[in-house]
């Protein structure tokens, strides 16, 4: 491994006992732990990047006779699979993070919203939960975790859509505000955190904010688990320090012929080779929920974009105009340009449209279609046209 890329062993390290960490942290002052989380700079690892400590703080402050913790395991972003590995390898850490959150905000009930595609791991996960429940009893912690299954809808990864789905409805994102921390599941204060985020909260309880923060950059503290796929000889899950340069990343994971890297999945950005040097992976540069897809020279970026747009056309919840109709227009639009039914200048109209989708869509799904669309169309215009 190159020296420029720092591999980290936090998430998957087995040399810590998460039950002990949990038991120890339960004895601490709640507000000071929240402060520690805030100080750590931990931001949500699902992609949106909201400061986790603040989320917990809001939910703790919110009034409610009942509160909930939801672990978002609806990992659906194309090219992401790190939560799958985390849930397989270190489920106790996830559950420990949930229990910690429950203890801090005052929730007695937690749910794991597991995507339908991962139904095969449900039994193992349930076993881990059962074991953890015994540990909670020993710690005299009143917390119970249930699994709720998704059923094949990408948009349910959006936290309010996920809540709607858990309430037995169509997984359509809600209007925000109010945010789930004040009005969430069953109308009660709810923290929805990504699988990986929850593990980091427990790890921060273990190692403390300063050590966590010693990695990464000012805006992107700590490390992050990446799902690396595509044209790479070593696809898989890696925990890496945030703030790396994309060129270093490509040097490490590419095979020498990398033309572009899609950072953050279909809803992320496509970075062409000429920008590898100037691109930082993190909140000050290009943030990612972990998906890193490498494309070599011979790959058609038109096909890549077409695949993404096909995906969005299908997976938009359909309720808001910019996303429902916009996705279809972008897809039909690049097809029309490719087939010469429309002039190449139509691409400019489509870029303007994607900007409208970015500013006016109801949720992150529609808002982020512009990311991949604009970056691919702008950087690979010729491939889209001819």
């Amino acid at each position: 491994m190159s020296e420029k890329i720092k591999k980290v062993d936090n998430i998957f390290s087995k040399d810590c006992n998460c039950k002990d960490i949990l038991a120890k942290t339960l004895k601490k002052d709640k507000d000071s732990f929240i402060q520690e989380l805030i100080d750590s700079g931990l931001k949500g690892r699902g992609g949106a990047g909201f400061p986790t400590g603040l989320k917990w703080k809001f939910a703790k402050m919110a009034e409610g006779d009942e509160k909930f913790v939801i672990c978002n395991a609806d990992e659906g972003e194309p090219g992401t699979f790190k939560d799958r590995v985390i849930l397989q390898e270190v489920p106790q850490k996830v559950l420990g993070g949930m229990a910690l959150c429950g203890h801090i905000i005052g929730a007695k009930k937690g749910f794991i919203y597991l995507r339908g595609e991962y139904a095969w791991m449900k039994q193992d996960l349930q076993k881990a939960i059962d074991e953890m429940h015994d540990a909670f009893k020993t710690m005299k912690l009143d917390f119970f975790i249930d699994i709720r299954m998704g059923s094949g809808a990408y948009v349910c990864g959006e936290e309010t859509a996920l809540i709607e789905s858990m309430e037995g409805k169509r997984g359509e994102p809600r209007n925000k505000p109010p945010f789930p921390a004040s009005i969430g599941f069953r109308g009660k204060p709810t923290v929805v955190n990504n699988v990986e985020t929850l593990v980091y909260t427990l790890m921060i309880a273990h190692i403390g904010a300063p050590e966590f923060k010693s990695l990464g950059t000012a805006d992107s503290a700590g490390s992050k688990v990446f799902s690396i796929s595509g044209d790479t000889p070593i696809p898989g899950v890696y925990e890496l320090e945030l703030g790396m340069k994309l060129s270093d990343f490509v040097e490490e994971f590419g095979d020498g012929d990398t033309k572009a890297v899609q950072v953050g999945g279909a809803s992320g950005f496509c970075v062409p080779r000429r920008k590898f040097n100037d691109t930082v992976i993190g909140f000050e540069g290009i943030p990612t929920g972990g998906s890193m897809m490498l494309f070599n020279s011979h790959r058609s970026m038109y096909n890549v974009l077409h695949n993404y747009l096909d995906f969005f056309v299908e997976e938009s919840c359909g309720q808001c105009t910019p996303c429902r109709v916009g996705c279809q227009q972008l897809l039909k639009g690049i097809e029309a340009v490719k087939s010469k039914e429309r002039d190449s200048s139509y691409l400019n109209e489509l870029i303007k449209l994607s900007e409208t989708m970015h500013t006016a869509s109801k949720c992150g799904l529609g808002q982020s279609v512009a990311n991949s669309f604009n970056s691919i169309v702008e950087e690979f215009t010729e491939e889209i046209m001819y």
Partner: protein, 596 residues
Amino acid sequence: MTKMINLKINDIPVTVEEGATILDAAKKANFKVPTLCNHSDLCVAGNCRVCVVEQVGARNLQASCAVPAAEGMEILTSSAKVRRARKNIIELLLSEHRTDCTKCYKNGKCELQDLATEYAVGDNIYIDLVPFNDYSVDLSSPSIMKDDSKCIRCQRCVRTCAEMQQVAAIAVANKGSEQKISTFFDKPMANVVCTNCGQCIIRCPTGALVERNSIDEVFDAIYDPDKHVVVQTAPAVRIALGEDLDFEPGERVTGKLVTSLKLLGFDSVLDTDFTADLTIMEEGTELLTRLKKALVDGDKDVALPMTTSCSPGWIKFIEHKFPQLLSNVSTCKSPQQMFGALAKTYYAQKRNIDPSKIVSVSIMPCTAKKYEANRPEMRDSGYKDVDYVLTTRELARMIKQAGIDFKSLEDNNYDSIMGVSTGAAVIFGATGGVMEAAIRTAYEIVTGKEVPFKNLNITPVRGMEGVKEASVKIEGCVEDWKFLEGVELKVAIAHGLVNANNVLQAVKNGKADYHFIEIMACPGGCLGGGGQPIPTSLEIRNKRTAAIYEEDMNMPFRKSHENPEIKLIYEDFLGEPLGHKSHELLHTHYTEREAY
């Protein structure tokens, strides 16, 4: 005390109550922000995004209908960023909408068209998506036409059907590009729980949901020299028709309505109010008979409470949702159908016209009446009792087509026979009206005295509360009705099927001790009906309500049993209420239907 929020709209300071939206605040600052999915009767959806505005400092635009105003906000309702996005969104909506505007029934009355005009959306730059979908027009229902190619997925109809009517015959199905407004397993509208109330129609911003219209058929009948065309007008038409003909909401146009119908060429202009009075006689007697059977005879099979039966949307609702309570529904036909049955019997005899030559037309505030007229059991005259049902909107269109200058018309009176009515009949058009009319008559029959309310105005049953309850203590009964002495007659009134559903649940669970319940499918009663002029809102319904009670106050007779033509029809034709002839012509039965 309510917390007040200070913000700026386009640099103008505004103060609104906490909880108000940015849209409310903009309105207060006198800025109109366009909306499509928003409707004052419905919960906030925030999905069309036409109402987006810029919040200074925020990355994304805000849906002003959905975002609460917050302290210190600086909002721009028409900045370059907003205008660009808004125009794009309108163009997107147009790209998935079949824009054959000149051929559309809603041409000139379409909110999307208005927006397209306002934003000067010329040649749409985007690709027409309509040909990529295989749309078909659902003509299965006799009341409602559903054309998905005109649908912009604002979901006003879905929210109406679920929130206001608790029917949810239409719901959002699928996701992404496939998302659409559909029914259970995409079945035709005629084969699902739809009550034909038409509340979806009056909230649809485009031509996706419209009434099935019979304008041409009616004109053809009028110009057929062989036919004698009679027309009846429902109570709520006269206080709303004006809205489609340049009058303000709440203006009564009864006299002009009659004149315009005469000018259109109807052979006889008659009044559903006449059969509304008749309904009171029949239904009042039915109620008293049921009470007698229950209280005196101890008959345990008598279904109480009894409910009204004038609202065909309500009838279809109970047939689907509470079939076990069908025996509680009065067997009286609705006034429309009583009229229809009498037009081709009593009227034909009296006027000496061959009933086969009579074409019976009704003008209704209602789309469910179209379905009702088509029920197979509604042929007791030996013919189809009511041949064509036109909504208030269709009549307005006929008047325009005929080039009649409605505003300058003289007033005229209804023809006779079957044209005389009372104030009790006209209030059938408002929620609580049937109840009030029934009490005015029944109380007097039982006690020989007028109801003890000032000016006969039984105010406890009036108003827009979803479920109203009232009771009248019966004292000083005449000989025949002594068994009712001291009885506290308990009544309830529900309008809007969500409220009907709540009352019916209580009845079903034995938790309601009412004797009589008035139920109207539409919010506000018929005056808020699915066939009334568009738009609708609580404010408009309140104005129509005021007009109806004004009309009542101005009638020479205000109690159904005092209607001289009612006395006449019992003397000359029917004999007595609930008599043999009544049973034959004026009463009906109901059908249990599937729950989906």
